[in-house]
C-alpha cells in the first residue's frame, strides 16, 4: 500500500519509531477509520435501526425500550392502504419531475448566458449563486411573504400586468399549493444547476467549437452535436443529484404550507416526518423513510456511476 511513498522511505535507515508508526498502514487506517466509524455509528446504524423500526410498532410509550412488538409488514400495508398514499405519491412525482426539469433548463440557460464572455459575467453569475447559499428557512419565509394572498408582491405584480383580476390564494388553495412550493424550490435550486453546468461547459475544449465552426456548423448545431454530448456525464450526475436534493425540500414545504392545505403539497419526506413527530407513529414514519432510502440509494448509485465515468480516479 502507498507505493509512491515507500520507494524513497525504505532507503532511509535513520527513521525513528514514531516515523515508522506514522508511515505504517496503521495510521492510514486510523485516519480513515475515525471518519468511517463516525458515519457508521451515526448514519449506518440509524438506517439499519430504521429498517428494524419499520417492522415494529413504535409509539411514544415504548420509545425508550428495545423490546417492541413485531408487526411484520403491517406498517407498510397500512401505508399502502392509507387514502393519503396515492395523493402523496402523485405530489412527490409531480414535484420532483417539475423541479428537476425546470431547474435543469433554467440552469443550463443561465450557464450558457454567463459563459458568453462579457464584462462582469463571472461576478454576476456569482451574485445569482447567492440564492443557493441562503438558509432554506429564510427562503421559505421570503416566498411565503411574496406569495401571500393579501399583501404578497406576486399577486400585486400579476394584477399590475393584467394577468389576473382577483387575488390568488397560492398557499391556501389546494390546487395551487404544490405549484407555490415548486416555484420556491426551483428558485432555490437553479443556481446549483447553473454552477455545475457552467463547470461542465468550461471543460469543453474551445478548439472543438472552432473546428466545427470552420466546417460551417452554426450555433444551434454546435450546441446539439458538441455541447450536449460532451456535457452528458455532467448532465447525468446533475439530474441524479437534483432528484435526491428535491427530497430535502422538506424545509421549504414545512415552512410555507406544512404539506397542506388538505395534504395538497405533502410529499413523502414531509409525510414521514409528520407521521413520526406529529402523530408519534414512529413505525409508520420509519416505513416511509425506509422506502425512500431505497429510492435515494438507487439514484445515488446512478450519480456515483456518472461521476466515475466523468473522472476516473
Amino acid at each position: 500500500m502507498s507505493q509512491p511513498l515507500r520507494h524513497t522511505l525504505d532507503a532511509t535507515p535513520w527513521r525513528m519509531s514514531r516515523d515508522r508508526f506514522l508511515d505504517s498502514s496503521t495510521i492510514w487506517m486510523l485516519l480513515i477509520g475515525a471518519a468511517a466509524l463516525f458515519l457508521l455509528l451515526l448514519v449506518g446504524y440509524p438506517i439499519a435501526y430504521n429498517l428494524v423500526m419499520s417492522v415494529q410498532e413504535v409509539t411514544l410509550g415504548n420509545l425508550p425500550s428495545f423490546s417492541r412488538p413485531w408487526v411484520g409488514l403491517q406498517n407498510y400495508r397500512q401505508l399502502l392502504a392509507d387514502p393519503l398514499f396515492l395523493l402523496v405519491a402523485k405530489n412527490t412525482l409531480v414535484f420532483t419531475v417539475a423541479n428537476v426539469a425546470v431547474q435543469f433548463v433554467l440552469g443550463l440557460g443561465l450557464a450558457l448566458y454567463f459563459q458568453l464572455s462579457f464584462p462582469a459575467s463571472s461576478f454576476l453569475r456569482g451574485l445569482v449563486l447567492v440564492g443557493w447559499m441562503l438558509p432554506p428557512l429564510v427562503i421559505g419565509a421570503v416566498w411565503k411573504w411574496l406569495l401571500g394572498s393579501d399583501s404578497g408582491f406576486v399577486n400585486y405584480a400579476l394584477q399590475g400586468l393584467g394577468l389576473i383580476s382577483g387575488k390568488i390564494y397560492w398557499l391556501a388553495d389546494p390546487s395551487l399549493s404544490l405549484l407555490a412550493v415548486t416555484i420556491a424550490n426551483i428558485w432555490f435550486g437553479v443556481p446549483f444547476n447553473m454552477i455545475l453546468l457552467a463547470a461542465g461547459l468550461a471543460g469543453i475544449p474551445a478548439d472543438i467549437y472552432e473546428a466545427a465552426a470552420l466546417d460551417g456548423a452554426g450555433p444551434v448545431r454546435r450546441f446539439i452535436w458538441i455541447t450536449l454530448p460532451l456535457l452528458r456525464p455532467t448532465i447525468y450526475a446533475l439530474l441524479s443529484l437534483t432528484t435526491v436534493y428535491t427530497m430535502r425540500a422538506f424545509d421549504l414545504i414545512y415552512t410555507m404550507t406544512h404539506g397542506g392545505p388538505l395534504d395538497s403539497s405533502n410529499i413523502f419526506p414531509v409525510w414521514s416526518y409528520r407521521m413520526s413527530f406529529e402523530l408519534f407513529d414512529f413505525g409508520g414514519g420509519a416505513a416511509i423513510a425506509t422506502a425512500m432510502f431505497a429510492l435515494v440509494l438507487v439514484v445515488a448509485l446512478a450519480y456515483v456511476r456518472s461521476v466515475n465515468a466523468e473522472r476516473p480516479m
Binding site: L31, L137, S151, Y254, T255
Partner: protein, 287 residues
Amino acid sequence: MSRQGSAGDGMRRALAPVRSWLLTTGGIAIAAVYLFPVYWMVISSLKANPELFAATPTLYPHAPTLAAFRWIFARENVGLYLQNSAIISFSVTALTLVLATGAAYALARIRTFWTAAMVVAIMAVQVLPPPLLVTPMFVIFRQIGLVNTQFAVILATTTKVLPFAIIMLRTSFAQIPVELEEAARVDGCPRFVAFFHITLPLARTGYIVVSSLVFLLAYGEFVYPLSLMNHKELQPGPVGLYSFVGADFADWPDALAFATVFVAPVIVLYMFLQRRIVSGLTAGALK
C-alpha cells in the same frame, strides 16, 4: 466566401462594444430579477405596519424604520437564537474539519479497491436527506439520553456535512504532488511535520471553501434542531424563524426582520469568498 468572411469579421469587431454592453445589461437584469426576493425581504423588514401591508406595495420604504429589529432583539430573544446558531455551526465546522482532514488525506494518498469503495459509500451517504434520517436518530438519541442537547444536534448535523467535506478535501489533497512531501522527508522532515508544514498550507484554498460551505450548511440546518431539541432556549436561528413564519398567520414584521438579521452573516461571508467558493464548487463539487 473569404471576402464575405472578412467583411463579417470587421462588422463583428465594430459591434463588439455594443455586444458587450447588451450582454452585461442582460446579465444585470437576470441577477436583479433573480435576487428580487432577497431585496424584497430586506426592504419589507424596514417598513412599518400600514406600509408593510399596503394594497399597493411601495418599491422602497417611504418611511424606513428599524422598529421591528429593535423589537425582536429586545423582546423575542433573537440574540440567543443567533448565539445558539453560532455555537452549533462553529462546533459542526470544527468537528467536521478534524474528522475530514485525516480521512480525505488518506483517501487521496492511498488508491486501493477498498478506498475506492469507501469513496463511493461516502458519496452515497452525502445525498441522504435529513428528514428521513431524523426518525431513527431521534429514537436512538432518546434511548441514550442525548435528546434536548445541542451536542445531539452537532453530531447529527455533522453527518450531513462530513461526507461532502471529505470528498472536497480529498480533491484538494489529490492535486498536491506527493513528491513535495517526499522531498521534505528526504531532507529529514518527519511525515506528519511534512503534512502540517507543506501539504496543509498548500490545501489552504480547499480548506477555506470547505469550511465556509460546511459552516453555511450547518447554519441553515433546520430539521435536526427542530426534532432533537424542544427547549426553546437551546434552539438556533432556523427554528426561531420557524416560530415566526410557521403558523397560518405569520408575524410578518418580526419574521422579516429576523430573516434579514439571520441571513446577513451568510451574505457577508459569501461576498468575501465568492470567487473562491465558485471556483471551488466548479472544481470539486462533483468529483
